[in-house]
Amino acid sequence: MSIYEGSVKKPVMTTLVFVAVVIIGLFSLNNVPIDLLPDIETNTIMVLTTYEGASAADVETNVTRPLENSLNTVANLKKLRSSSRENRSLITLEFDFGEDIDVLTDDVRQKLDMVKSFMPDGATDPIIFKFSTDMIPVMLISATADQSLPALYKILEENVANPLARIPGVGTVSINGAPEREIQVFVDPARLEAYNLTIEAIGNVIRMENMNLPAGTMDIGNESYALRVQGEFVSPMEMKRLVVGSYAGRNVYLSDVAEVRDDLEERTQEVFTNSVQGATIVVQKQSGSNTVQIANAVVKMMPELQKNLPSDVKLETIMDTSDNIKQTISGLADTVLYAFIFVAIVVLAFLGRWRATFIIIITIPISLIAAFIYLGITGGSLNIISLSSLSVAIGMVVDDAIVVIENITRHIERGSRPKSAAVHATNEVAISVIASTLTLLAVFFPLTMVGGQAGVMFEQLGWMVTIIMIVSTVSALTLTPMLASQMLKLDAKHGTLYLKVFTPIERALDKLDSAYGKAVDWAVRHRKATVWGVLGFFVLSLIPAGFIGTEFIPAQDNSVIAGTAELPVGTRSEVTRETAQQLYKLWKEKYPELDMINYNIGQASSSNVWGSMQNNGSNIISFNLRLIDLQSRDRSMFAIADSIRLDLQRMPEIRKSNVLAGGGMGMMGGQSTLDVEIFGYDFTETDRIAAEMKEKMSKVPGLVNVTISRGDYLPEYRVQFDREKLAMNGLNMSTAATFLRNRINGMTASLYREDGEEYTIRVAYAPEFRQSVEALENILIYNNQGQSVRLSEVGRVIEEFSPPSIDRQNRQRIVRVQSTVSGTTIDKAVVEINKAIDEIEIPTNIYTQIGGTYIDQQDSFADLGLLLLLITLLVFIVMASQFESLTYPFIIMFSVPFAVSGVILAFAVTGVTLNMMSFVGIIMLVGIVVKNGIVLVDYINLNRGRGMSIVQSVVKGGQARLRPVLMTTLTTILGMAPLALSNSEGSELWKSMAITVIGGLTVSTIFTLVVVPTVYAIVAGRKTKNFRKKWRRKMLNA
């Protein structure tokens, strides 16, 4: 008993099996999280090492290079980048996509362990980060305060950060811009000298005094008592009475030589939100947890947290990444609904029967819901890719059911009873239904196997559509005949409403049929003219191809603009703050679309990981701007960003600025970047080339934000010790350097504990004694014998400039001239840049290459191009096996070039670029357009088998199959139309794919309907002629 016979005979079982599938699907849907994009496994590991007080060059030689040399041996490494700047070294290891990041992390950790012992003393142990989209903060919450400002850090930490961190799934919650408490011991060097004391000695005393020690247990009588010495400071002011030495027989107290202050850290970042100072709370999620769930939990918790805060502290959300996700997903869900409605209308209009339409339409929810089971099992999420696959599939899932229902109806009209008609009619078309599904699987299944970034993106699309298509085919072969056997009737009676609505449609379709029949008849009888005509059209349609730009991923308007503005280096933070205030006033007036303006200035403290990874310094303003919703403003994020760029350029005090529409959040949706990478060791040479390059690139239209990655040179004082003199005084370089460091940077003597919190006790020169070169020169350095010598006697202080950061890539120094592509396309910009590179004189030991999104784009396009080739081949194989012939698939393949024409025309009309999404659209087209050809050729073959002449079979076959072809094409096109027309947030991403498919499919269908019958007639006619010729020759020879 075949599967269709079984299902027709067992309607209860068939129904319930599908009901079960739907229930499991809905259950999975309930548990599937919402996200913007598929869970992209990270391919980047970062290693952060801090080396306080060291300059960029020191960090490069002492920390970065040894680490790089060791890390370079990790397997599967694609790119090794590093940035050494003052105090810290950041090494980024980029791996090939698809490798197991946990294994790689272990590898990296091992390599780090091997070099750890070669690290300089002051350097911390390297910290490993796995960088992924997870690292991007889920939410930024601003806390503004008045009177509570000095205690803000503590307040926020206890009342906001800690409760938030307890939400399941929340990773780290860090606080930016709230200074931390620090116990400072500021020493007067003159007094130290008078009492013969050193910073180190004071530090040691503090460390020795601030101590709790268990002394054991003692038994007294029958009891055991613990014995403890409780020596830790109860109050910081207790330190004042510490005896740090003795002079002339009297005790020297700490208060005699130093001032003890319970204060805030000296150098900190200041954060302003809508011009009120406060702090930013950065919420990051744990790897793998869901953004929307976390953001919802945080938002829900906020009123409660607000209640526990002092009245002047206000919490407000600056950025909530889940907003964008939610809107994007709901916009996409709408398109799925519209697609469903459109498809239903098309089916009803063509079939004109309610019951048949219902039977066909029911396959849509069943197969779509079944796909949620896949998401549930694999832990996938509802995201742009998975939801747009639903939209893509919606128009195609009905095709199988349509073919089956059509044949069953034909049988019933011939007089067969519905039950047997359902079985036998399904049996007749089963093979071709499976074959046409196979051609689509030949397209979508390989998508699951692509490598690289494209593979990561489209794996879900491949699986979802594959599963949906398989389920829809199974449903078409079981559920559809079963429902047909139960519901379809011979000679259903039609009401007047029915007649009013469907008679005109029916009449129009009949007219179309006969008109098309005439057209095909003419084409087949004027084969040469037809072939030349369509060939001419094809060639003409290729002309606009030259004007189509390419892009990596279409930029997406997510209502966030971020950027930095740099004042001349060395600018004090007060001046920077003032400039920032000016900017705030300007923007507030000029752009009513701005919802929130948040900026921070100053140096991030080393404990703030998120802050320290961003560019920071006392001269740098970094800002985050949030715009109001896309629907309620006229200007796009990109237009506003362009205008802000101009504002920044007009301010003379701003040396350098960078504005990124989209906030530069990760790889998706932001604007594409194009970099020129200049490799070379020599700073002066590479600087010269970079400067020239920058000038030339600024002139290229459409390239904005042209900046040089190497920051401005920082003025620095360098202390050059004379080794001979040091040796004569019984000193060495490291002792001398440590003395210097302890006095200026300060030494951490101990930790002060209060209420379970620890605060650093830092001993250093008082600020007024470290503000001149003389102060440095007067520093006393002691040797082991306790003899002292002034720094000026063993070394000298010279003023120099050094680059603030030294960037390296693949263990070579690199300068990048970076630019953002806005208003042009990458390929055009690349041509201009290559021209510029040729014009610049470049020495042989320096070389340049183009990087940025361009490289990613080329990689992905290469992957996708290969895929296109593979898929075309696979589709051909499927068709050839179905027809058991090489000729027919060849004829059908003629529809593919016209799909290309259609795509080019659609691009030219709508201004869509060739990007990763439209490329996938083109790949899908190969499978979709050949389906029309298959239907036609199949029926023409059938007519010939029934004994018609070639011309007759072609004309009659075309006429008979016009409606199914138009119907399946229209369902696919209209299923995609909501995607193409939607204007919601994130629509930029899927729009191009939908436009590609619609354009390609429309043009290709029109031409397939003419070209395939004509070429069939030509090929079949020639075959018959050849056969007759051979036959005659054989007969003559015989």
């Binding site: 011939r414 039950k419 047997s420 036998h424 007519n943 010939r944």
Partner: protein
């Protein structure tokens, strides 16, 4: 005793069985899938790409007096949908065990 050979479109199968049962005939032999073509009218039933439908065939041996009724019933069935095709032929049965 006479034998009736019935060749018909597969889809008729259930109705044919009803005809036999209605005429109180218990025994029959049937072939699920056979190919065939009418001599004058009707579409061929060949199970090929061009002519995908198939026939079934059935032979039943009945008392002489029932033949006429059965043939009449089959004729009536055939007239409900002539497009599908249904034919019956009657032979004499010489001997049996």
């Amino acid at each position: 005793m006479k034998s009736i050979f019935i060749a018909f479109d597969q889809a008729y199968y259930d109705q044919i069985l009803s005809v036999l049962r209605g005429n109180n005939v218990r025994g029959y032999t049937s072939w699920q899938e056979v190919q065939g073509k009418g001599s004058r009218t009707g579409e061929p039933h060949l199970g090929t790409h061009a002519w995908p439908t198939l026939n079934s065939a059935m032979i039943t041996v009945v008392e002489d007096d029932r033949v006429e009724n059965i043939l009449n019933d089959l004729k009536a069935l055939d007239l409900t949908s002539e497009m599908m095709g249904l034919r019956a032929f009657v032979w004499n049965v010489e001997d049996m065990i």
